[in-house]
């Protein structure tokens, strides 16, 4: 533009100086456009691992190739929310000679659990005169699974009833085991080794020791995916999945069978199982958990019977906001399941509002929650309010409740 205007002005005003001013601009334009060639840049993001933990750094590398020379190659990593560049920013500038291949080491940090598709890179190449710009977008193909950060749990909720297989939970019934239960009179068929000789000597009749066997238990994690209450950098669903992951890991360590039901707009389930494979299955199923809005009424009839084995402990992970999930908890209790609830407390995430009406609504909502909680407790469902306290302390609340509370007849 400058060159054209100067040339026209030179002709109009008959001043050769203006043509002299126009000449360098025109030359730069002519040479620059003549030399500009599409550098044919290709970019590939390679992750060191396809699984990582929340808040952990992940090594990655960006391999950049160019057929032609690029004076300034801008690379902008298109990272999804929840993943960020740990060391430098998500943008870099490099220079490439013809046929060059450059490997740029990167460190990524995942701030939220989930399944991410990475590898989206926006590329902008400029020629030496910065006259021509080539832009291209490479879409992501690398899948990264980010597991929730581990939560330390030393004690967990013991189910009311145990299953038939050997495990780590001391059963309430009597049988072959290690833990001492009681003594009783000897009956034919009792093993000699179980005779309690001291007690027999005192009573002048043979008595035998009775013991509690160690059995495994079935635990079903019942995750509420009807609603997700956000506030600041926290969300109830994120915390519920974190808690679910920690509980599943801890129960599986005790050789219990753990299953999963994601109860919400989309019903997800995983049949109870045990072992390391089940742990990965559980966590990866939970990673896919998201809120799918629905207005249809859903109840526990939708859940296949094999997913909820008899005598299983059903652990609800919920903010206790959606009435459908609260009703489902009551249903399960009414069907004889041992139900406990980890309430991911949404109250600190909700602001009271400024106006009088808003404040009043907030107080009514908090009171309504108390009523819901009381109705569940009346059914014999222990509730652990998990907010500011750590999860283990919150679970202690349910443990105490289950120790002293009288279960409602069902």
């Amino acid at each position: 533009m400058v060159a054209a205007i100067a040339l026209v002005a030179a002709l109009a005003l008959r001043r050769p100086e203006l043509a002299i001013i126009a000449a360098p601009f025109a030359l730069v334009l002519a040479i620059g456009t003549r030399l500009a060639r599409d550098p044919k840049v290709t970019v590939e993001l390679v992750l060191a691992r396809d699984r990582t933990m929340e808040e952990a750094d992940l090594e990655a590398s960006l391999t950049v190739r160019a057929v032609g020379a690029v004076d300034r190659l801008e690379l902008l990593l298109d990272l999804p929310p929840g993943v960020e560049a740990a060391d430098a920013g998500d943008a870099q500038v490099i220079r490439l000679r013809p046929g060059d291949e450059r490997v740029i080491p990167l460190a990524l940090r995942c701030t939220r659990w989930g399944v991410y598709s990475l590898g989206g890179v926006e590329v902008r190449a400029r020629d030496p005169f910065r006259l021509v710009v080539w832009e291209e977008r490479f879409s992501g193909r690398q899948q990264l699974k980010v597991y929730p950060r581990p939560i330390s749990l030393r004690r967990i909720l013991a189910p009311a009833e145990t299953q038939a297989f050997t495990g780590s939970e001391v059963a309430r019934v009597k049988g072959d085991g290690v833990e001492y239960a009681d003594i009783r009179d000897f009956v034919p068929g009792d093993r000699v080794r179980s005779i309690n000789w001291r007690a027999s000597a005192r009573r002048q009749t043979l008595v035998v020791n009775e013991r509690h066997p160690e059995r495994n238990t079935d635990v079903v994690l019942f995750v509420d995916s009807f609603v997700d209450v956000h506030g600041g950098d926290r969300s109830t669903l994120e915390d519920a999945v974190r808690a679910g992951s920690a509980l599943a890991t801890r129960y599986l360590e005790r050789r219990d069978r753990v299953g999963l039901v994601g109860f919400g707009g989309v019903l997800r389930w995983l049949q109870p199982g045990m072992g390391l494979t089940q742990r990965y299955r559980l966590i990866e199923t939970m990673l896919e958990t998201g809120v799918e809005p629905t207005y249809t009424w859903r109840d526990v009839n939708l859940i296949p019977a094999r997913i909820l084995p008899p005598k299983a402990l059903v652990l609800g992970l919920t903010p206790l906001v959606d009435p459908r999930f609260i009703a489902a908890l009551g249903d399960l209790r009414a069907r004889g399941f041992d139900v406990g609830v980890v309430e991911v407390d949404p109250v600190p995430l909700v602001e009271a509002g400024r106006s009088e009406i808003e404040e009043l609504s907030y107080r009514l909502w908090v009171l309504e929650r108390e009523v819901v909680r009381a109705s569940l407790v009346a059914l014999g469902i222990g509730i652990a309010r998990w907010g500011d306290l750590d999860l283990e302390t919150a679970l202690e609340e349910v443990r105490t409740f289950r120790r002293y509370a009288k279960l409602a007849p069902v």
Partner: protein, 163 residues
């Protein structure tokens, strides 16, 4: 900005009183345009500022009817370097960390561009000055150049038809 200030000062310093008042206004608009371009990141205002400064220079030459200005190569180089520096400044707003030495390399490139502009413009100035003398030797050189250019064109045309 300093370079643009210097470029506006040159014609204003040489201008007659008739030009100074109007020139000062144009210079102020040019400076404001460049400041706006850099602060608001409006790239379209960079050529506007350059054109305004060039217009100021052209107005001074035309109104004062000055002789052939020997400072025009330096002025051309100044304008080109100003434009390059302005665009470079806008590029740096992306806050993308570059490789070590990238800024130094680009500074050398801009400096080389300025020197090359100075040389080319000086060559053109010499040519213009020579043509202005209207000597027979120049006419002969011009005729020879035109004939050579015509021969080259014909030769290239024949080469294309044979293929």
């Amino acid at each position: 900005m300093a370079l643009l200030g210097a470029l506006t000062a040159v014609p204003l310093a040489r201008a007659s009183d008739d030009v100074v008042e109007l020139g000062a206004r144009v210079a102020a608009i040019a400076v404001v345009a460049l400041v706006a371009a850099l602060v608001l990141e409006w790239t379209a205002l960079v050529p506007t500022a350059i054109v305004l400064v060039g217009a100021l220079y052209a107005a001074q030459l035309a109104i004062d009817d000055a002789a052939l200005d020997t400072a025009s190569p330096a002025y051309a180089a100044g304008l080109l370097v100003t434009a390059e520096l302005a665009y470079w400044s806008l590029e740096e707003r992306d806050y993308i960390q570059g490789e070590p030495g990238a800024s130094l390399r680009h500074a050398a490139f801009v400096a080389a561009l300025g020197v090359a502009t100075l040389l080319v413009a000086s060559l053109l100035l010499v040519l213009v000055d020579t043509v202005r003398t209207r000597g027979l030797a120049v006419d002969l050189v011009g005729a020879a150049a035109a004939a050579l250019f015509a021969i080259v064109l014909v030769a290239r045309g024949q080469g294309r038809t044979s293929h």
